[in-house]
């Protein structure tokens, strides 16, 4: 039994029909064809499927798509403005914060939500937040460096403006 729902992703409306058991991650990937959101464990441990729902980082594998109707959903595809990369995307490249790149969209969305809070995160807050996602390649060192650099860049910009 499928239900018609409308999902708003990166500002675009997607009208889809889904079974109630389909997760948000599945529907973003399979129905909306936004495959930048990755599925690594399907039970909320790895964080590869992290998207932003109404401003908060959410594990899209732990939410049913039907629960997300009416919400503002943001995925990795919405980070860059045309060819202008988001400061986090640029920082991940500059600091070699990715190897295979599978966990990267989840880390980017987690960090985006973190850095959009009014105050820049302290090192301890950063450490705690980034400990919620798994990366198997980098050993995390460069991810921390990248997020810290982006934090500086973003808060410098917003402070100047």
């Amino acid at each position: 039994m499928k239900h018609p729902i409308t999902l708003t992703i990166n500002g675009h409306r997607h009208e889809v029909e889904v079974e109630p058991r389909r997760t948000l991650a599945d529907v973003i990937r399979e129905e909306c064809r936004l495959t930048g959101t990755h599925v690594g464990c399907e039970h909320g441990v790895c964080g590869a499927c992290t998207v932003i729902v109404d401003g908060d980082p959410v594990r899209a594998c732990l939410v049913f798509a039907v629960q997300a109707e009416g919400a503002q959903i943001r995925t990795v595809e919405g980070l860059a403005q045309g060819s202008q990369l988001h400061p986090l995307q640029q920082a991940f490249m500059d600091h070699h914060a990715l190897q295979c790149g599978f966990c990267t969209p989840g880390f980017l969305m987690l960090s985006t939500a973190l850095l959009e809070r009014p105050d820049p995160p302290s090192d301890a807050e950063l450490q705690e937040a980034l400990s919620s996602n798994l990366c198997r390649c980098t050993g995390y060192k460069n991810i921390v460096l990248a997020v810290r650099a982006a934090s500086k860049a973003m808060h410098a910009t917003s402070g100047a403006a």
Binding site: H38, L85, Q89, M93, D94, F102, R136, V144
Partner: protein
């Protein structure tokens, strides 16, 4: 020295023996106005699509009208398979077919890559279980349906008739039976040299230990995936989602399916981590191909995490009984080891190579005049095992370095001093080890092991570190340091080739048989090509993982990619360069010797003029161009690199660990890696490989374990039970890359870096825990979980 260490927040610096810029042989690099990309920490070519969410991993690829496959797997560890009833599943709407072993009669078992082997072949895995199931997760049937959810629902309705058989979970226990007449030990590995008996007879002291490494594995964050597609219009069978060794797998699959290798092609997509386990041939790869042909629709299979943790290759589980004969001055006269390698339920594509490598590399970088090893390669009723990053080295480094720590303790010699007395000296290089492993006669090609040890101690300010820890222990903290020395191996030959072509825009394409598992392969190959040819590395496109573009390839494993494919790229680029200069000399009316290629333009040396664009030279060499004259058409060349043997990088690992006596938790406070890579093509990527490897090593030393109960039931089938390290578990890793011993075996002097980070982690952490709790020799088994560490602490109290 500290300038050479990349700590948190710094760009990696390489400790290069001289201030001279790195010059690639055969070229005039570095060029005047642009730094030579070789040896530079340039950003990666791979990254842009990956940070934009535009990557294409296996699950991201779909073909119109595709079917979805779901496996029906054994729920028990060992049983006779009496029957399969799929009638209920077949009656479901959307289910197209259900296959069992009877449907794939005639398809052979998945073969050894380096086979055949009379001893091992009877133990290979069929693509669907025939008369027995041998581990929880063993594929019994395959369901094909129009939707992945329907396929999964249908798979649950396939019922199996099973009759229990005795379960074997301990590789050191009495042998069982794989099948009638086939004992669970298919082969025994024996190696050695020197007179063991004489060494033990004259020893001042002997030391004996039993040591074990736990079962853990690569666990890439992307699960496996395979999409089979048959293109009837061209009569080509395609496998999408290949990794690691696409060319070797194409050949094996062609043989299994009775096709010409020209009529089956493998395509690598983005690969979400390899680590040795991804990209081997598994039953599902064969099934999607067979189904694509028979069902005449593309067939997609994506592994879920539960399946990944019970069917993808596991690794590392060994028990060693090792003893050493030691002279009065601490010189180790001989090492004698007997070990049991738990292979799990079937022999997979590697055969006995992990056990063989363990036996071959166990002596490490110590002189050891006599050595003997016996490896029992045993089957059990657990998930089959194979290679995981630094196969045989993580295990053997743990055993060897634990043994050396025990010898130091017994003889009352400082563990560093003991190692100094036993390390091979630089004047002994090249050093023939006296044994072979994986068909390679081990000869350490170059190295100054004592120098690297000294540089590591200097970088850490060892006396001060010891004093600090001593002071903290005096305050009641359980904190300690451990050190491990190791020799890595890389560049497994014997040959690799690439083809480089420059097009009329001046863009360069390098077609390789290499593969990318996320390690930065494209960037490194582009840097080597750009450096040799004289172009910007960003103008180089590296094609890999496509069997339809090049006939041969070695893939990405065994620390091969940079050494083998990199050297072949250098050789091909030299030939393209020579062709370009020859054509350009004619076009410019001057001598070849007066020309150079800088930033994609052929210029006269010492002349500031614009020169000639490489793309225009390519145009002049087009088959139809008159300017070409008698020259061979195309600005293109193939290049090969052949090596007589492997090249051996080496390293030192140091861990500082704090133990919480109440909880039994061991926390790595600090981790240092000193590593000689010969020549670093891209220090940032070398450091990235090392830091990532350390993190995985910490997982294997403290957290990760595929535990099984006595019935062979796997106890770690989710990421909540199988604990991958998080940021919170990993200290800031410090890396010192040195270039004191370039390899004499290849034109660039390079050695592999992929396995440098993980090799000695188990050994160093074990030693640090001993030191922290003041119980020398306490750690004999990995991983050191809180439960095990509490037991060790109780032992002392009791």
């Amino acid at each position: 020295m500290s300038a050479a260490i990349a700590a948190a927040g710094e760009t990696p610096v390489v400790d290069r023996p001289t201030e001279a810029p790195v010059a690639v042989p055969g070229t005039t690099a570095p060029h005047n106005d642009r730094p030579d990309p070789f040896g530079q920490s340039v950003t990666r070519l791979e990254d842009l699509p990956l940070v934009r969410g535009q990557g294409r991993f296996a699950a991201d690829l779909s073909f119109p009208h595709q079917l979805h496959m779901r496996m029906v797997r054994s729920p028990v560890a060992h049983a006779r398979l009496l029957g399969v009833d799929a009638s209920e599943a077949l009656a479901m709407r959307g289910v197209v077919a259900v296959w069992t072993a009877q449907d794939v009669v005639g398809i052979p078992c998945i073969p050894l890559r380096e086979g055949p082997s009379v001893e091992l072949d009877p133990y290979l895995q069929p693509i669907l279980a025939r008369d027995r199931v041998r581990y929880v997760g063993d594929p019994v049937a395959a369901v094909f349906a129009t939707d992945p959810f329907i396929a999964e629902d249908a798979a649950e309705r396939v019922s199996l008739d099973l009759e229990s058989l005795p379960v074997l979970t301990d590789a050191t226990a009495a042998l069982g039976e794989f099948a009638p007449g086939l004992p669970t030990q298919p082969t025994t590995i024996r190696k050695g040299y020197g007179d063991i008996e004489a060494a033990f007879a004259k020893a001042a002291c002997t030391v004996e230990l039993e040591l074990a490494t736990g079962r853990h594995s690569g666990v890439p964050l992307e699960t496996r995936g395979a999409i089979g597609r048959y293109d009837a219009a061209r009569d080509v069978l395609e496998l999408h989602g290949a990794a690691k060794v696409p060319h070797r797998n194409r050949d094996a699959l062609a043989r299994m399916l009775g096709r010409s290798p020209h009529a089956i092609h493998l395509f690598e997509l983005h690969v979400g981590g390899g680590f040795g386990v991804r990209g081997e041939i598994y039953p599902e790869d064969v099934l999607v191909l067979l189904a694509a042909m028979r069902l005449e629709r593309p067939v997609k299979w994506i592994e879920d995490r539960y399946e990944a943790l019970m069917t993808t290759n596991q690794s590392r589980e060994q028990v060693h009984r090792v003893r050493a004969a030691v002279a009065a001055d601490g010189f180790v006269l001989a090492m004698d080891d007997e070990f049991f390698h738990d292979q799990g339920a079937y022999v997979r594509t590697h055969g006995d190579r992990v056990a063989d490598m363990t036996a071959g590399i166990l002596p490490g970088g110590y002189v050891l005049p006599a050595y003997r090893v016996t490896g029992h390669y045993r089957l059990t009723n657990k998930t089959p095992a194979a290679t995981y990053r630094a196969p045989g080295r993580f295990e053997s480094s743990f055993v060897r370095e634990r043994l050396f720590d025990a010898i130091a303790q017994r003889m009352g010699i400082d563990p560093i001093e003991l190692r100094r007395r036993n390390l091979i000296r630089p004047e002994q290089m090249p050093f023939p080890r006296g044994i072979e492993t994986i068909e390679d006669n081990i000869v350490f090609d170059s190295g100054d092991y004592p120098l690297l040890l000294q540089k590591t101690l200097d970088a850490l300010d060892w006396p001060r570190l010891q004093a600090d820890l001593q002071a903290r222990r005096a305050q009641g903290e359980a904190v300690g340091v451990g050190l491990a020395c190791f020799v890595e191996k890389s560049g497994l030959g014997p040959a690799d080739g690439v083809r480089i072509t420059v097009d009329f825009t001046g863009a360069v394409e390098v077609v390789t048989g290499g593969a990318s598992v996320g390690q930065g392969f494209e960037t490194v190959v582009a840097q080597i090509c750009a450096s040799t040819l004289g172009v910007d590395y960003r103008r180089v496109r590296v094609v890999h993982g496509r069997t339809d573009r090049i006939q041969y390839g070695v893939g990405a494993h065994a620390g091969r990619a940079t050494v083998m494919t990199g050297s072949a790229t250098h050789n091909a680029a030299l030939r393209v360069r020579a062709k370009a200069l020859d054509m350009a000399a004619s076009m410019l009316g001057c001598a070849i010797e007066g020309l150079d290629i800088v930033d994609g333009r052929v210029i006269r040396r010492g002349d500031s003029g614009p020169g000639l664009a490489l793309g225009d030279v390519a145009s002049a060499l087009a088959p139809t161009a008159r300017a070409r004259g008698e020259r061979e058409p195309g600005l293109t060349a193939e290049g090969w690199y052949e090596t007589p043997s492997m090249t051996y990088p080496y390293g030192v690992h140091v861990a500082v660990v704090r133990v919480d006596r109440d909880t039994g938790a061991a926390r790595v406070e600090r981790f240092f890696v000193g590593y000689d890579v010969g020549r670093a093509v891209n220090p940032m990527l070398v450091e990235g490989q090392i830091v990532g490897g350390v993190a995985q090593g910490i997982g294997g030393a403290l957290l990760e374990e595929f535990a099984y109960d006595e019935n062979g039931e796997p106890l770690a089938v989710t990421l909540a039970d199988y604990l991958l390290p998080t940021l919170d578990d990993i200290p800031p890793v410090e890396v010192m890359i040195t270039e004191d011993a370039p390899s004499p075996l290849n034109p660039l002097g390079i050695k592999g870096a992929g396995e440098a980070g993980i090799n000695g982690v188990g050994a160093a952490i074990a030693a640090a825990i001993d030191d922290a709790i003041g119980q020398p020799g306490a750690v004999t088994r990995l991983p050191v979980t809180p439960v095990r560490l509490k037991a060790l602490l109780r032992q002392r109290a009791g």
